[in-house]
Assembly symmetry: C2
Homo-oligomer: 380 residues x 2
Amino acid sequence: MTDVRTMGFTDVRTTNLAVVLSHLRTSGPSSRAAIAASTGLNKATVSSLTSDLIDQRLLRETGTSGNRIGRPGTSLALDGSAYAAIGIQVAADSMTALAIDFAGDQIIRWHRALGAHRAGEIITLAQRAATRVRQQGRSVLGLTVAVPGLVDENGVVRISPTLGWSDLDLRTLVAGSLRQPGLVVTVANQATTAALTNKDPNSIYVSGTAGIEAGVIAHGRPLHGARGFTGQIGRFTLGPAGAPTLHDLAGIEPLVRRALTGFDPESLTDLAPAVEQVAVQARAGDAATLAALRDTGRHLGQGLAMLANLTDPSVIVLGDHYASLAGWLIPAVEAELAAQVLAPSGIRVVASDLGLHAAALGGALSHLDRVDNGSLPKAV
Amino acid sequence: MTDVRTMGFTDVRTTNLAVVLSHLRTSGPSSRAAIAASTGLNKATVSSLTSDLIDQRLLRETGTSGNRIGRPGTSLALDGSAYAAIGIQVAADSMTALAIDFAGDQIIRWHRALGAHRAGEIITLAQRAATRVRQQGRSVLGLTVAVPGLVDENGVVRISPTLGWSDLDLRTLVAGSLRQPGLVVTVANQATTAALTNKDPNSIYVSGTAGIEAGVIAHGRPLHGARGFTGQIGRFTLGPAGAPTLHDLAGIEPLVRRALTGFDPESLTDLAPAVEQVAVQARAGDAATLAALRDTGRHLGQGLAMLANLTDPSVIVLGDHYASLAGWLIPAVEAELAAQVLAPSGIRVVASDLGLHAAALGGALSHLDRVDNGSLPKAV
């Protein structure tokens, strides 16, 4: 079950480039001497590698560090000026485009309503984001579209109940519309993509939007499975035939229906205002709303206890609309984890601080990560 | 989230040794020329590596292959004569010791009842197995004890409801009793260890014994999580407070209680005869037994559908007592998977053919795998 290959000279250099980039991304600006000391590479190698990376406009010199004089004290930092990466997150009713430069700084974030012509609207947003990035003088390293549902390795959306899609070759549609040879376009599940923003190598991002999905990071990598069709926890069910699913019991839409009296399900074109109204009523102490939140939290806790009993994460991040309601949900979730998980306590449950754009950010980050792992762009 | 390191000369040689051993384990006896052709290593390197491995008694020459004459046609094979590895599998009521030589051939398999002095009996069995292996002229590469429940990275059994243990430092007890410096002793969860016998890189071994546990292989590696406390699927529950767990609904002991009229739970010192009696009644067409099996299969299918929706395996292996009843369980399991899993079909459900010793075999194999990955034993 191992996949060991011999490593030639090219791979060693690629690996070393990745070591330098990863070091600077993690530790911030450093001198060549500090990079050598931290990575174990010798100084001549570091000089050669960083020289290449400066030529490629992935690194820049930032002046002298500390009190030292001359080249040895010159700090190097990631250079955000030449490249950017784009993530587009698609929900039932809205989409978010986000771009970051190679240094990781956010340069675009647009939120748009999503209407009836979904694929076309996504393509238009992707084109506009790419155009804006290029107008800023940056080359696009890659673009990821993150969608709810099952996406195969070719970027075909095999089944998305939320979007009403089956077998839609979204990657080819988007890549074809961008007309930039060599631009890497990927399409991926939104919860798995959002989980790329997690810091912990064993962690779960739970996305509560129109459905419930989980992105699992195991041993520092997204859990991919045989076909990439992972994370469909909203379908969890156990009991008699017809027993409710985790989505029925702990989904955002069922919660909204319970908490908002006179709520018209047909009017549900955007969940965000309804979720905000639930929060308003909860803050006002409305008993029915608080009971609905407790019940949702308890069932969500059952679902997360199953994830925890199976995968033993360090951290579970409540994302998307769950994050807006986390103050009410987390106590019930934690009580359920304490009751149901066999392992001694040690799992933190936290609210995402990335609002409704975690998957857009994760999608953009995936392209920086690709470069950091040695897949350098062609020189501009 | 990447873990990239520079690779020096020693590591390259280690990697190449691993490449040669893995090739021979997968492909069977091969000539040096065939090894070179298949691995991409040059012939001089292959000659040097195989010479070392023959000196270490990990490989042996097996005469000429095909019609060729002389050294280039001499076949090399894994040498089972010098080393062996031991796995011991502990269940509620029994234990199995299994040893394989370095070529993978089974040289010991003992099944024993497990009485009240569990840790002591396990230690005695481990000592006897190690002694027998040494009497055969082989050195013990390593020994793994596989137990139900949660085992930490130091081999301390943190919680085992089945065995009634908490915080028992079983690894130190066993290693101390074997008195062989350098002998690698590990203690691990039994379902995860059994899953090491799976061939597929994305697969699940479901262990049905006194409890239900799952060993998940993801991307070719056991799913370890933050602390190794994975696979506790028997505790899955969803619904009102006090709702039954997956073990209540699909466990072997609850099945036996339903199927065997007049069954005395106090007499349950060994599940195997009771499971065999269930199979006898099912073969005789007993309606109540068949109904109990269908119900167990349906609920087991719900549990496995949750695993499948979360982790997208290619194969699910029904192991231990589930394997004995698989003919009745699998149709209900497959129907439930078809109904509950969002992904298009593509998950095979099969019965393990390893009886009650999959974890013992997996434990022994883990030590061969360690050697195959370049951690060679000290020369004998």
